[in-house]
């Protein structure tokens, strides 16, 4: 697979449904995100946001429908596609027994990145350069979250997927992560952020996709009055 195919300009969920046993977590989702977008995937708990993120990350297969990365499916693009995907999920994908540096070095090596410089730069961005050799188990939730964000972005993904990236962050860290996502989108990445924190989404996202009960209720450009719009479509749930 050539690199041009992996620098896809859009990702499109086409009629994506996903069942868990008899429960339908996603129902015929149609959603397109383009290069430079920061899409806010908004909805109440249990709406299907995390499932959609997993499907987009190729960690779950749709029961029906397909996801197209620049017009091609994950199976056609093969494992090389995963080199262009970055995911920060609910759990942080970090080994608590390893130091911050060891965690980043391990994932850098797994992605075939040339270690030291990439890791040092990521530690600097996470604000953890002075605690790089401490075990992650001794970090606060906010420090782990910042490290996890950098782990997810270590390989400069084309499609960056974030599931509640602001959990446990203080104001300063929220600003740091928000700026990081904006910079990523400005570089041409497609950024999708699942959150139910409307205050944090407001002003950050460029598009909103409102999800409830596994259905996409709205997909539109972000505008002022996000909370009122959300309440109008989703309700108070």
């Amino acid at each position: 697979m050539n690199d041009a195919a992996l620098d896809f300009e859009s990702v499109r969920a086409a009629d994506v449904s996903r069942n868990f046993g008899r429960r339908r977590a996603l129902s015929k989702i149609n959603l397109t995100a383009r290069s430079g977008d920061i899409v806010g995937l908004l909805g109440p708990n249990g709406a299907g946001k995390s499932t959609l993120i997993s499907v987009l990350a190729t960690l779950a297969t749709p029961t029906s429908g397909e996801v197209l990365y620049g017009g091609q499916t994950a199976s056609r693009l093969g494992p090389a596609l995963r080199r262009r995907l970055g995911l920060l999920a609910h759990e942080l994908f970090l080994y608590p027994e390893l130091s911050a540096r060891q965690n980043l070095a391990f994932f850098a090596a797994l992605y075939g990145l040339d270690g030291r410089e990439v890791v040092d730069a990521a530690l600097e961005r996470a604000g953890l350069a002075d605690r790089a050799d401490e075990e992650v188990s001794g970090f606060s939730r906010g420090m782990r979250q910042r490290l996890a964000v950098e782990r997810a972005l270590l390989h400069r993904p084309r499609l960056a997927l974030f599931d509640e990236p602001f959990t446990g962050l203080d104001d300063r860290a929220v600003t740091m992560v928000s700026d990081r996502l904006r910079a990523l989108a400005a570089e041409g990445a497609i950024v999708i952020v699942a959150t139910h924190d409307l205050d944090l989404a407001d002003g950050l996202v460029t598009r909103i996709a409102l999800v409830k009960d596994g259905r996409l209720l709205a997909d539109e450009p972000a505008a002022d009055g996000l909370r009122a719009r959300y309440r109008g479509i989703v309700g108070n749930g």
């Binding site: 995907l85 999920a89 994908f93 608590p96």
Partner: protein, 225 residues
């Protein structure tokens, strides 16, 4: 790249274990207790029951191995790091091989303690034929670890994983246990039945080829939700 990824995963597991020593100590203590209790039951006035040493050695390996498998993958569940591994562009089969090598290495250390212990407590001349014993242990442990790593990875997100792992693992690895026990018993005969040992090593190697091939083949599809 395949080998590089497998060794990366192995080195990561090794680093974590060296730091915590949690799995090594747990499995060693369990294996030691298991052999000690059986030696009290099966050795009367210095005379062990026939073939007891062979059976106890392999039971201790299987039970200690089950604990090691559970704990190794429990680490990947905490923080959902197994999903991070699966999301990496590396070969998923290589990730499986890395995890399996970690289990093999751990069980090799356990066996280094178990063999002299069984030799002493059961008056069994296990070390009289070290090369043949090593061949039996290596072939048997590989078969067990191959299937075990696959099942433990499959069950990592299952709520009842601690119960399900032995339920799935033990029936499938019965051929490994039978071959291991019979091969070791042949080794402990006086004089050792070397032809039988060679045959059992051959059977174990055949199991290994089947188990490793099937596991490599099925790891990717079973790990995709």
């Amino acid at each position: 790249m395949f080998l590089h990824t497998a060794l990366l995963v192995l080195r990561k597991d090794f680093t974590i274990e060296v730091r915590s020593r949690e799995i090594l100590y747990t499995t060693l203590l369990f294996a030691f207790s298991c052999v000690l209790v059986f030696s009290i039951a099966f050795v009367k006035q210095g005379q062990p029951l026939e073939d007891a040493a062979a059976g106890i050695l392999w039971i201790a390996i299987e039970f200690a191995g089950t604990i090691a498998l559970g704990r190794t993958f429990e680490r990947e569940r905490y923080g959902e790091t197994l999903r991070a591994l699966l999301l990496a562009p590396a070969s998923r089969a290589a990730i499986y091989v890395g995890k399996m090598l970690g289990i093999l290495l751990l069980l090799a250390v356990v066996e280094l303690v178990l063999v002299p212990l069984v030799t002493i407590l059961f008056h069994a001349p296990l070390l009289a034929q070290p090369a043949r014993l090593a061949a039996l242990l290596a072939a048997g442990t590989l078969g067990f670890a191959a299937v075990g790593a696959l099942f433990a990875a499959m069950l990592v997100r299952a709520r009842s994983r601690d119960v399900m792992l032995p339920i799935l693992l033990y029936p499938i690895t019965i051929p490994v246990m039978i071959a291991g026990v019979r091969g070791t018993a042949a080794l402990l005969q006086s004089p050792p039945d070397t032809a039988s040992v060679t045959m059992w090593v051959g059977i174990l190697s055949a199991f290994d080829v089947v188990f490793v091939t099937l596991s490599l083949w099925t790891f990717e599809p079973v790990m995709t939700e």
